[in-house]
Structures are given as structure tokens and as C-alpha cells.
């Protein structure tokens, strides 16, 4: 019987990152998928990144993950969202050719050392004494497994809805894993249902592009991964159209036929990405909603109309599409649909994404109630790193809310649970000013190197970059008098005396370019790093102010709350507080403070009690 340190079930974005991360850590890893040819498929929109999501892509990439480089390999349109705002909320986003993206993922997965690909249906977990010990495939094959990562997406009880039609299964054309689903149900895990949806796909040859506003790929040179030196593919443009009153009328007339409104789907969908029928229903006064027509690839005519996700019957979908300018003759190649599926209440997970109830079983991706490739990939990375670290006796990188969106997401999920599909937003990150998409490598690659999950190529890149950073530091600490800047025509008052270049960079209008006389040729060595360090300088006063807050946080984090902490025994805690805290099982007092609904008084009581336990415990030991 074959045996593996870590076995990953599922070849979506979570599964791929989990398997590759575990393998990079040095664990003997297997990835099991129904269909190896489907690994890396983009099941929904052909885009990677965006606001908040772009941060996750860069963070996964900074830890040597697959997503960023695959996105570059498939990218046919680059756009930096929020460019007009502060750089901490810039959202790098690409549209990717599905075929090229998938091919890139598969090439990286196949090239990954320590990783075995297994085609087959995961049928049942093998548990020994309640702990993961192996996996049985549908064909009877058995594997010895130390740790197992479930990245099965919407396969748990997934039902497809399109008008009055119903299909079982996660996506069109794929099977659902029934026995495994039954086994998980039998394990009495806390579960809930969510829904998501997808728009109809259009034949681009039937769209009148000439009448539509074009949105070109931006003209800059940035890529998702610094290991992609330049953009690879020819860039295509998207177009913008709108829904119309006539289309809204058609939707209203057929609302009763939408499973969302007929009562067939009761689960909550994402507020951030509602179906078109939801938008019409909730914002009835709007005359039209923007729709982005996004080409799905260089070698396909398929177009993804972003903004009209729907579960209406096919005839209504056609009617609605044809009321949009430029789409009067558009042909639907594949109709849109909604999916309702089970997910595990992520509060049942520990911060390493392991199920408290089944030691050795990790969960990542949509199964945890999230939506989006980027969210899935980031969780896969965490689960893969943690599972491998646990098997190998290593330490996975320490993520916290002040160093990564990854940690923000995992912390939110495991403490707060979800009431709708969880999507990353920059608003979720309280230390947003330090968590920029463009400083992900600075924040995380060093941690990755320490943990041992960074490959040779990126390590070499990182070391060169750190050397350059040192040179920048030296340059930035030069002291220059205000007069000299003013003489160059910069808008600074002459009486401000001497400051370092880093300090001057905080002033409006003082850019690295403007400081070229002092910085010299160095900016050209690494323009992106130059930009990053200029931003660091600009944000420095805000970051310094956050430092006190972070010290405070760390102090609360130093007080651990074991998962079996007897909340019921804490004097002064109400039953409601006991329930909330027991469900979320926060690992520290700081985490307890982030459990929704926990009151200041409850926290104080908890502090006293936890402290007392800690003290008496240490005396006993």
C-alpha cells in the first residue's frame, strides 16, 4: 500500500496550492482528483485578482505558490483596480485565457518534486481512533496517509439550479463525491448551506463590439508574480455594456421562476456579487447595471458577461441578454445557473485549518464557506504548509493580521464563521496600510524561506532584492536641506531645514523621480522596490502609530485559551457568551476579543479567569 505524508483531495485552486505547498515543504504528497485533466480549471469567471483578492494572489505568490505565475501565463488583460486611490488598496487583476492558465497550473504541478498525482474518486476516509490514517478510493485502492487536506469545493451536496431545472453535482459535467459527503455528514460536523451563481457564456462572434465602450488592458508592465519578468500573451480588450429597463421588466415578470425567489434555494448568496435578479429586486430604482464583457481566451470565442450571474430559466436569460446594447443578437453558448452547496462551519477549524473533531483532516477553499479562486488558493496554501509542517515537525510561517490578508481571512473564518460566501475585501484588514499587494514579498517571502517552502529561483530573486533594498536604505538616509528641494521646483517650504530623503518622501509631490539627483541610477535597479520603499516612507507616520496598537494586540495574544477552555466555569459569563466562545474556540485572549458579540465585560471576566488558570497551571508544573 502506498503511503503519503500529506494527501490532498481536489484539483481546484485550493487543492493545487495545498499539494504544491506541502511538497515544497518536503512532505511526500499526493493529489487525488476525479480527472487529472481538469486540474487548474477556472470554473467561474476567467479572472484572477481584484480588490482584496489581488493581495491574496501576491501573498500566495510570495510564498512561492502557483496562482500568480499561472495567472501571468494565462493573462490576456491586466488592470490595476483603484489606481487613483492610495496604493494599499490597489487591486491587481488579470483576465486569463482558461486554456493557458490551466496548462500552466498543470505544468507546475507535474514539475513539482515530492508530488504524486492520482486520478480517482476519493470514496472514504480511513480513521484510526478518530484520527486520519488513510484514504480509500472508489476503485478500492487504499493509501496510508498521515494528514489529509479536503479541497472539494461545492461537491458536498451541491445542487445546480436553472429555472425549474435541477442537477446534482458541483459543476456542469462533473460528479459529486457521494460517499465521502455521507461520511462527513455522519461525522456530525457543523454544516450550513450557501449558494453561488454564474452568468451565461456568450459567443463573442455574435456581439456587436463596435457600439460598445472598450476597456483596454492597462499600458503598464507589472505582472502578478515578480518571477514573471514580462507580460507574455497578446493583450485583448474588454467591453462595457449595461442591463436595460426592458431586461429588468423581463426579470421581474419571471422572478417566480427563479429558484432564488421561488423558495427552492434558501441559502444565502454573496452580497458582494449578487445575481442579476437579486440586483433588480433589491435596487429596483436603478435604470441599468454595468456588465463587463470579458473574453475567455485567445483561441475561443466565449465571452463572460461579468455582472449578470443568474439562475433564471434559459429563455429568460436570452431575453435579458438581448436587451443589452451590443448583445441584441448575442447567442448563449452555456446558460448561467446557481449552485447550492453544503459547507463546513469554519469555526469548527483551528487556525491551521484542521478540523478540531477529526485530527489530521484539513479543509480549504469553498468547503469552508468562501468564494473565489484567490480565497481558495490562499487557504489551500495554509492547509498544505500546516499539514506538511505537522508531519515533518517543522514550523509553518507565522501569519497574523498585521502581516497578511491570508491571516485576516483564516482568522475571520475560524472565529466569526460565515453567513454568506466569504470574499476578501480590503476593509477586512485593519492594518491595511502595511498590507499592500506590492509589498507581499517583503512581508512574506522571508518567512517562507525560514519555513522552507520557497524554491531556489525565488530565493535567489529575494536575495538579490534584499541586497538592493540595503542600497536603497543607504540612499534614503541621506540628509537634504529643504532649500535644495525647493530650488528644484518642489513644493516644499524652504524653512523646513534638513531631513532624510525617506522623510521628504512623505511630502505631497516628492516622488522618487523628483529625488533622482540624490537617488541617482539606483531606482533603475528595481523600480518596483523603489516604489514600494517610497510608499513605506510615505506611510511611515501611520505605521508608527499602529505599532502601539500592535504591541497591545501581541500582549493579548500572549494569553492562550486552550480549545477545551471551560467557558461555562468562568464567573460572570452569560450562557450566550459561553456558547459563542465555545463554538469559535479562540486560541488567545486577543482572538476572543474578535469573536462577534463578545462584550467587554465578558472579556474582562475571561481575562481574570484565564490568567488565574495560567498562573495555577504554571505553579503546578
Amino acid at each position: 500500500m502506498q503511503s503519503f505524508d500529506v494527501l490532498v483531495i481536489g484539483g481546484g485552486h485550493a487543492g493545487v496550492e495545498a499539494a504544491c505547498a506541502a511538497a515544497r515543504m518536503g512532505a511526500r504528497t499526493a493529489l487525488v482528483s476525479f480527472d487529472l485533466a481538469a486540474i487548474g480549471a477556472m470554473s467561474c469567471n476567467p479572472a484572477i485578482g481584484g480588490l482584496g483578492k489581488g493581495h491574496l494572489v501576491r501573498e500566495v505568490d510570495a510564498l512561492d505558490g502557483v496562482l500568480g505565475r499561472a495567472a501571468d501565463a494565462g493573462a490576456i488583460h491586466y488592470r490595476m483596480l483603484n489606481r487613483s486611490k492610495g496604493s494599499a488598496v490597489w487591486g491587481p487583476r488579470v483576465q486569463a485565457d482558461r486554456v493557458r492558465f490551466k496548462a500552466a497550473v498543470q505544468a507546475m504541478v507535474r514539475a513539482q518534486a515530492n508530488l504524486t498525482l492520482v486520478q480517482g474518486e476519493a470514496a472514504a476516509l480511513v480513521l484510526k481512533g478518530g484520527v486520519v490514517a488513510g484514504l480509500e478510493l472508489a476503485d478500492g485502492t487504499m493509501f496510508h496517509v498521515k494528514h489529509l487536506v479536503l479541497c472539494t469545493g461545492t461537491f458536498l451536496g451541491g445542487i445546480l439550479f436553472r429555472g425549474e431545472e435541477r442537477y446534482e453535482g458541483g459543476r456542469i459535467g462533473e460528479n459529486a463525491a457521494h460517499r465521502l459527503a455521507q461520511q462527513l455528514r455522519g461525522a456530525d460536523l457543523p454544516m450550513a448551506r450557501l449558494k453561488t451563481g454564474t452568468p451565461p457564456r456568450l459567443d463573442g462572434r455574435t456581439i456587436d463590439w463596435a457600439v460598445l465602450e472598450e476597456q483596454p488592458s492597462d499600458g503598464e508592465a507589472w505582472t502578478m508574480s515578480p518571477l514573471t519578468p514580462r507580460r507574455i500573451n497578446p493583450q485583448v480588450f474588454c467591453a462595457i455594456t449595461r442591463t436595460t429597463q426592458a431586461g429588468h421588466d423581463a426579470i421581474r415578470a419571471n422572478l417566480h421562476r427563479s429558484p432564488l425567489f421561488s423558495g427552492a434555494i434558501a441559502a444565502a448568496g454573496p452580497r458582494y456579487c449578487p445575481s442579476i435578479e437579486d440586483k433588480i429586486h433589491r435596487f429596483g430604482d436603478r435604470e441599468g447595471h454595468q456588465v463587463f464583457l470579458e473574453p475567455e481566451g485567445l483561441d475561443t470565442h466565449m465571452v463572460y458577461p461579468n455582472g449578470i450571474s443568474t439562475s433564471l430559466p434559459v429563455d429568460v436569460q436570452e431575453e435579458v441578454v438581448r436587451t443589452m446594447p451590443g448583445c441584441e443578437r448575442a447567442v448563449i453558448v452555456q446558460p448561467g445557473y446557481a449552485v447550492e452547496y453544503d459547507h463546513i462551519d469554519p469555526r469548527a477549524l483551528t487556525p491551521d485549518l484542521q478540523l478540531r473533531a477529526i485530527p489530521g483532516l484539513y479543509c480549504a477553499g469553498q468547503i469552508n464557506g468562501t468564494t473565489g479562486y484567490e480565497e481558495a488558493a490562499a487557504q489551500g496554501l495554509v492547509a498544505g504548509l500546516e499539514a506538511a509542517a505537522a508531519v515533518l515537525g517543522k514550523q509553518a510561517p507565522r501569519f497574523d493580521r498585521a502581516n497578511s490578508y491570508i491571516a485576516v481571512m483564516v482568522d475571520d473564518l475560524t472565529l466569526q464563521g460565515v453567513s454568506e460566501p466569504y470574499r476578501m475585501l480590503t476593509a477586512r484588514a485593519e492594518y491595511r496600510l502595511r498590507l499592500r499587494a506590492n509589498n507581499a514579498a517583503t512581508r512574506l517571502t522571508g518567512l517562507g524561506i525560514e519555513a522552507g517552502c520557497i524554491g531556489e529561483e525565488r530565493r535567489a530573486w529575494w536575495e538579490r532584492r534584499e541586497a538592493t533594498r540595503e542600497m536603497f536604505h543607504v540612499k534614503h538616509s541621506q540628509r537634504v536641506h529643504a532649500r535644495e528641494l525647493a530650488d528644484l521646483g518642489l513644493a516644499v517650504r524652504r524653512d523646513q531645514g534638513e531631513k532624510t530623503l525617506a522623510e521628504w518622501l512623505r511630502y505631497d509631490g516628492v516622488t522618487p523621480e523628483a529625488l533622482a539627483p540624490w537617488l541617482g541610477e539606483i531606482t533603475a535597479l528595481d523600480p518596483l522596490l523603489a516604489e514600494e520603499m517610497a510608499e513605506d516612507a510615505a506611510y511611515a507616520p501611520y505605521l508608527a502609530r499602529q505599532d502601539a496598537e500592535l504591541r497591545d494586540l501581541r500582549a493579548s495574544e500572549a494569553l492562550p485559551l486552550p480549545s477545551d477552555f471551560p467557558y461555562a466555569e468562568v464567573p460572570g459569563l452569560s450562557n450566550e457568551m459561553v456558547e459563542r466562545l465555545s463554538k469559535a474556540a479562540p486560541g488567545t485572549l486577543a482572538a476572543a476579543g474578535r469573536v462577534p458579540g463578545v462584550t467587554p465585560a465578558a472579556l474582562s471576566a475571561l481575562l481574570v479567569h484565564a490568567r488565574r488558570r495560567l498562573v495555577s497551571g504554571s505553579f503546578a508544573a
Partner: protein, 428 residues
Amino acid sequence: MSSAETIFALSSGAPPAGVGVIRVSGPAARAALLALAGRVPEPRRASLARLRDAQGALLDEALVLWFAGPATATGEDLAEFHCHGGRAVVAAVEGALASLRGIRRAEPGEFTRRAFANGRIDLAEAEGLADLLSAETELQRAAALANAGGALSREVEGWRERVLSLSAEVEGVLDFSDEEDSADLPECFTWNIGALAEELAEWLTRPRSERLGEGFRVVLAGPPNAGKSTLFNALVESEAAITSPIAGTTRDVIERAVAISGVPFTFVDTAGLREGEAADSIEAIGIDRARSALARADAVLWLGAEGEGPEGAWEIAAQSDREGYGEKPGARFTLSAMTGEGVAALKTALVEAARAALPKPGEAALNARQHARLAEAAEALQSAQGLADPLLVAEELRRVRLAFDRLVGRATTEDMLDTLFGRFCIGK
């Protein structure tokens, strides 16, 4: 939690006293012993040592003790200097300690806080200690806060809601600007921030709740023999005495806390202010204290020559019973403490002034900590008004929310611990 900083404080009563015990806690405690006593004595054994400053000057002959952490009262390395309890000696030893690297004077309650942080006492013990230490005066404060506490929390909750909705608007612009609905902030946005900032500013000008404990501070001042002490006695006599809540009452000025018509007062009789060279050194210290008492006064009753008192002082013509003494045509009150003439009118005026300066009964009042948090929130709101980048506006609004959270104790434990341990006297 081990701390990099080493702290010291006088842990015995205020000098002058028989013995002054100065405690030093932290990693540099050993270095402090070496520097002052020239050696580290055997652990836990008192031994006699000559304390010298950095220049080698003899400071005192004292008992020194050494306790190695973590099995000490604070959980850290600990040194004790039991020196003679004279004011000058204690000041000199403290000065020598303060001049050493990495050693500073302790904040109020810091020794206890370290003991707690290092697991030497638990929070329940610490709280119990705090309650015991301050029970007598807490009664007074609790009465005021029982009224005010709920009111303030409700107020903060209202502000918090408003900031949340402002934050939501900015976050909409930041996270959804590329979607259709929220491209720019509405025009009224900055106005709303300004309105809230003004509201907070108004709160910040209100009297603090500590004032209820301290009372309205009235300082009697004037040249020697101007009748200060007589008036002092006339004012405090027959009034209900209350215990002064202020730690470390100075010895050179006489303070008496009384309630007049239910309003708390502290009357302070200063040493005579005398200009010039005649004053000897002890008198000079007294005069210094008198000056600092004046600086802290809510009202100064000036019994000297007209126009020569501190700015804003109440001109009092005292000793009206004494023939030809101190003509003061512009006096606000003319009275004789001996006969009692005019004293009642003065008291009535003082009560009126005090009522205006102290928190209104039933109205929420801020204590120093709450005041500091609210000031932070107001400052962040002000700064948000001047920013164009919505990202930075959002950061300032986050700071406002954090300040509110800390104000009500929602945020983290540090604030609670600060509050708790801020109630201890130094070095206990």
C-alpha cells in the same frame, strides 16, 4: 512578560520618615546595586553599604538587599535600598538611580502590574488589592459614576454608530469603486465628520469626574500675617470633613477637605509668600510649594495688597475688624474671620463657582483615561477632515473607532490593566 526597562520607586511612605525604602525592579537592578553600593550582596540578606553617586560622592549609609528573579515580588530581578528617610537623602538616591542607563522612575501601579504580568499575583488578587486601597474614596467616585457610567456608554455607542456609517461610506469607495454604485464620497461626508468632531470637542471641555473626588480647590494666599490661617479656620470649621483622596498630601501647605452645601472643597493654606533674601532655605521650600499649590488652584483667595496677587485671584479684604489694616477699595469680599462678618457671603459665592466647575449631578463626566481616549478620537476626526486620500481617511476613522472601543473597554486588555493598575500608589 519580561520587560526590558528597569524601574524604581520609593515604596515606603512619603519622606520625611524613619526609613526610606527604594525598590528597583528589572534587568538592570543588579547594575544599580553595583553602581550605588559597589557590590551585590548575598541574595536575600540585608547588608550595610555606603551608597555613592557616579562622581563618588557619599549619598548615605544604607541597608541593601538583592533578590534574583523570577522568585521575587515582581517576578524580576529586584534590589532594595533601605536608606535614611530624610527628604534630601531619598531624593539624592533616587536621582543617582535615575541617572543610570535603562532605569527610570516607575509609573503609578507599575510594580504591581509587573507582578501580575509575571504571574506572581493573579488579577483577582490585584483587583482586590486595588479595591481595598481605594475603598474610602471610591465611594465618592462610584456614586458619581453610577449616575454617569451608563450615560457615557450610551453616548459612546451613538458616536460609534455614526463613525461606523462614515467608515462604511469610505470602505464602499475603496472596495467597490470599480463597481458602479460608489465612486465618490458624498458631499455631506466631511461635514458629518466635522459635526461629530465638534460634539466631541464640547465633551472634552466638560469638568472631569475626578473633580468630584478632589473637590473645588481653593487656595488662600497672601503675605505673612495677612489673616490666611484665621480665614482658613473660619471656612473649614463646622463644615463636614471629608477625607482627601489625593495621595501624597504635601506637608508644607495645610489642606482640608470639607463639604459645603454638599459640594466638595479642598481648602489650602499656603506658607506666606515673602519676597526677597530674608527667607531661609526651609522657608524657600515652603514658598515653592505654595507656588505650586497656586498653580493647581481653582480659585485663589488673595489676602494681600490689591493687585499684587496671582492673576484672576479673588481680592479679599480680611481682618476688617482690625483698625487701619489693608485698605482694599476694589475688594470682592470684605470680611472678618474673627467676627464672622462676610464669611457666609464668601462661602455662598464659592459654592456657586464650584457648582459651575464640577460635573453636574446626573450628567456623564469623563475621567482622565476616558478623556484621553476621547481626545484621541477627536484628534483623529480632525485629521480625517484634512485628508484627500480616502484610504487615509479610512485609517483615521479606524483610529476613532479604536479609541471608542478602548474607551468602553471593548478593544483589548491593556486598557483595562492600565486602568486597574493606575489605581495603585507607586511601589506598593
